[in-house]
């Protein structure tokens, strides 16, 4: 199905970069969570979620991302988002994700920020 979310993970040192592609619903959110926890277990200190190729994240997907954020913060890790559409950005602000996670316009800015410790 073309609409289900594909996720690519790239590890650079202690930073894991997630590239999503497609609709993030409960399944997409859970898949991101699974891979995020695997990266943290594997020693990643910071996660950067690049949502450039995602146009819709539903509220269930966001609620799962909030759980991931909490788990990352519990372990003193860092979670940053980048390349959000205006609508996704707005929704992240409504649900408060933007209060607890950093959001950057581009992946480069996100990477620079997490490198220096957000």
């Amino acid at each position: 199905m073309s609409e289900s979310c594909k996720i690519q993970v790239e590890r650079r040192g202690d930073v894991a970069i997630f590239q999503t592609d497609g609709y993030i619903n409960n399944q997409g959110g859970e898949e991101i969570a699974r891979q995020a926890y695997a990266q943290i277990e594997g020693g990643a200190r910071a996660l950067v979620l690049n949502l450039e190729k995602t146009r819709i994240v539903n509220s269930i997907g966001i609620s799962i991302l909030i759980e991931v954020l909490e788990k990352v913060m519990d372990r003193k890790g860092v979670l940053a988002f980048c390349s959000l559409t205006p609508t996704i950005d707005k929704t992240f602000r409504i649900m408060g994700l933007a209060q607890y996670a950093a959001i950057y316009p581009t992946q480069d800015e996100a990477l620079r920020a997490v490198a220096t410790g957000v």
């Binding site: 199905m1 609409e3 289900s4 609709y23 619903n25 146009r55 819709i56 539903n58 509220s59 269930i60 966001i62 609620s63 799962i64 909030i66 759980e67 909490e70 559409t85 205006p86 609508t87 707005k90 929704t91 409504i94 649900m95 408060g96 994700l97 209060q99 607890y100």
Partner: protein
């Protein structure tokens, strides 16, 4: 305005600007439905960021019907309308999401806040709030017959 009207004479003539779509209660059908609302938004040249907002509001209303309504006909009935309050006003895109489900009392649904969401165990409960935030107007009617959400966004 004259120019656009001549580009769609049939529509102006009949005053008929309504498309209805019935989808099954099935995963990802909400995304199939967004294609239709996007086409209607493009039809009135609504900016893409606003179309995205309507799409998400539609997705939230559909997954509520899928998840909570237990519809008798296993379907969700959508109606998309484009219109204008008066000759001078901006075009709007209206979306109606109707399910023949159990209904609910939206006045007693707890309003979520980021603080409660982050402090507590319950992360869900944001669908209606997102719909209200993204659309210009939202009306919910619900009863034993089911639920109807009527929402509108201006271009």
């Amino acid at each position: 305005m004259g120019q656009r009207e001549s580009a769609r004479p049939g529509l102006e003539r009949t005053g008929n600007r309504e498309v209805s779509l019935t989808i099954p209660v099935a995963s990802d059908m909400e995304i199939v439905a967004t294609a239709q609302v996007a086409a209607m938004g493009e039809y009135i040249d609504m900016p893409h960021d606003k179309i995205d907002e309507v799409k998400l509001a539609l997705v939230e209303a559909c997954i509520n019907a899928f998840e909570h309504a237990h519809t008798r006909d296993d379907r969700v009935h959508l109606t998309f309308r484009v219109g204008r309050d008066d000759d001078e006003g901006p075009d709007f895109l209206e979306v109606e999401v109707f399910d023949q489900g159990t209904g609910f009392d939206h006045e007693i649904v707890e309003v979520p806040t980021p603080e409660k969401t982050f402090a507590g165990k319950k992360k869900r409960g944001w669908g209606l709030q997102i719909i209200r935030s993204l659309m210009d107007s939202v009306a919910i009617t619900s009863g034993e017959w089911g639920t109807r959400i009527l929402m509108r966004k201006y271009k």
